[in-house]
Symmetry: C2
Subunit: 379 residues, 2 copies
């Protein structure tokens, strides 16, 4: 198997269908990566995650470096062995989460000093340390360490933040290339920043391409700008990134966000939404999300989503899941999460097939009309 080979098998407008071949397995694109924050996709066994159709997971550098610790994971044989997931894992750089800690952090050109939210202990993340942590975890796809520009930002803030991220991208590349092991097996992605400003996104892309990466992420979106503004940025930002490399929209998103991003040429996604909202009672369906805690489901004998082939829907009725979630039962979180992961993977499979058959416009219009009309019906 190649270290990292991205091939595009079909395009439809800007949308692309393809695959990333890596040593640990092939990632069908457009791909959705379930989030396995603390070395587990919450409430799921790895075989269940794979059963939903996931080709790759995301692991969180910030959480894992604090607990159980990157060096410990390395001593235990790496994250794949530790958590029983044999396929590819992408790790984020930790930057986004460290900077969300607010007053617990101190930023400098060197990196970010921060206090652990677990025990208050002091830590430092730099481009070099982030790459080292991701190497210790054994990530297949490593993300450059960057600063996710806050929203909203003034043009000056956006430029200065983007330029720092580009300097950190270069240091990330150098740290990655200095590590024998990584250079041999893993891939490195750079992250475009520039807030909502086209010229900054262009300069960021040019800087990243100059450094050279295996794939390119769009960062700094899904930070509160809203669906329309996000689409507006993607209208210009996605096409700036090399067509022959996978494009990854970080932290996105809702099903309709994903459809619109695929339309604009994005290939990879990650989001906690299917797992987190599953634990709080929100089930995704083609007719829009439903909150299974709602009293109207107490004796509803339909599955969560009629027609869904997932293990939850082929075995249980809404009334049962309603009971479990209302009762705070762990099995409720398990069944809801599994359904939502299947929903997201079916969404991606539907998009891939539509692109392959060059009917993305019709497919996405049909999906969005149905999905959103229900949202309007139940405000």
């Amino acid at each position: 198997m190649p270290r990292f080979a991205f091939s595009i098998s079909a395009t439809d407008g800007a949308a692309r269908r393809g695959a990333i071949a890596m040593e640990r397995g092939t990632i069908r694109t457009p791909a959705f990566m379930p989030v396995g924050t603390a070395a587990t996709v919450k409430a799921m066994k790895p075989e269940g995650v794979r059963g939903s159709g996931a080709d790759i997971l995301l692991g969180n550098t910030y959480h894992l470096m604090l607990r159980p610790g990157a060096e410990r994971v390395a001593r235990l044989g790496g994250l794949h062995r530790f958590m029983g997931w044999e396929r590819p894992i992408l790790t984020d750089s930790g930057g986004y989460q460290v900077m969300s800690l607010g007053e617990l952090t101190k930023k400098s050109e060197e990196g970010v000093r921060f206090k652990s939210h677990l025990d208050g202990s002091l830590h430092m993340l730099t481009p070099e340390r982030s790459i080292e942590v991701q190497r210790l975890l054994g990530a297949d796809i490593v993300m450059a360490f960057d600063e996710c520009t806050p929203f909203p930002a003034t043009p000056e803030q956006a430029e200065s933040s983007m330029l720092r991220s580009m300097r950190w991208a270069k240091r990330s590349r150098e740290a990655f290339d200095g590590g024998e092991e990584h250079a041999g097996r893993a891939a490195l992605f750079g992250i475009q920043q520039g807030s909502m400003i086209e010229a900054l996104r262009r300069r960021s892309s040019d800087a990243l391409i100059e450094i050279g990466f295996d794939g390119y992420a769009v960062g700094g979106l899904a930070v509160g700008e809203g669906h329309e503004a996000m689409c507006g940025v993607l209208d210009f930002a996605a096409a700036m990134l090399p067509a022959e490399r996978p494009r990854y929209l970080m932290g996105v998103g809702k099903p309709d966000d994903i459809v619109e991003a695929v339309r604009r040429g994005i290939d990879m996604f990650d989001c906690v939404l299917p797992t987190r909202s599953g634990r709080t009672g929100q089930a995704f369906t083609l007719d829009g999300p439903i909150n299974i805690r709602n009293a109207r489901f107490a004796e509803d004998r339909d599955p969560l989503e009629p027609g869904c082939p997932c293990p939850t829907c082929t075995t249980y009725e809404r009334a049962y899941v309603h009971h479990l979630v209302r009762s705070g039962e762990i099995l409720g979180a398990m069944l809801m999460t599994e359904h939502n992961l299947w929903f997201y993977q079916r969404l991606m499979q539907g998009l891939r097939e539509a692109i392959g058959e060059r009917r993305f416009a019709a497919h996405s219009a049909e999906f969005l009309t149905r999905y959103r009309s229900s949202l309007r019906r139940r405000p």
Copy 2:
């Protein structure tokens, strides 16, 4: 299939190996019944429970009558359909839990009036209503409504409580026989009371036998009397119950409790210990229980129990489960519970085989020596 047919295939001293054949499946005895309080064995899918070797589950009448409600479960097709468990289910009578509510209850000859711990609503449990609830749930084995005599009790309290339970046993039998559906398919068990007093246990057994039941339970143990006192009561109490009927020791217990009760002729057990302690980090092993949260397991690469064939032990290391449980991850509860259920079912299988080969004494001595020596080593 017969409605209820108990056969004994081997005996070794007072210990018996056998099987209960019922419409929904055969229950190998001695049997351990995992507890599915709120229509779920916590943190487990039904296929995982079955995978551990369980032939029958226990459901809690008290919890289910309050949420989702017995009439609702009946409208939804019964408990088996609701929770996706096709094999036999035994339901308790609700009496034990109602009387644990303390000041929220008011006892009379009629039954027990109580306030729901969920919403403070008023309810009444009588022998007639308990049997009706268990019928609505669709239980395969129905328990007579009784009063679990508190411990300690004076001889007068013990006698008066036992006599009331015997009057309630008769009313339970009459209510059960009045229900067409139950009489056709389900089995009814009576419950021996009498506290720690041999003469009272004898009178209770005689009264139950006079009424006539499909099986007989020993009630009023595992209430704080301790292992030795429990064994002391079983020394006389078990043999008072008809040899040709299954004997069920309610709410027991620890692995060594189970071994000693099987030695004295008990055939069935239920206990929350493997599930509840799994969720708090206690894993059962042949070398005694371990608390996986302990720092010494942080980099332990053994499975929870070396040699255990369960899905947790064949996939994960202690270090991983330690991390999950310490991090409060749902998967930690899932993996720990599954291991513990397998441990209990392997314990029962080992006892059944030892009885079949008439080596119960040697087998139990070996098991107990190993299990307890480790308990002494780690005070």
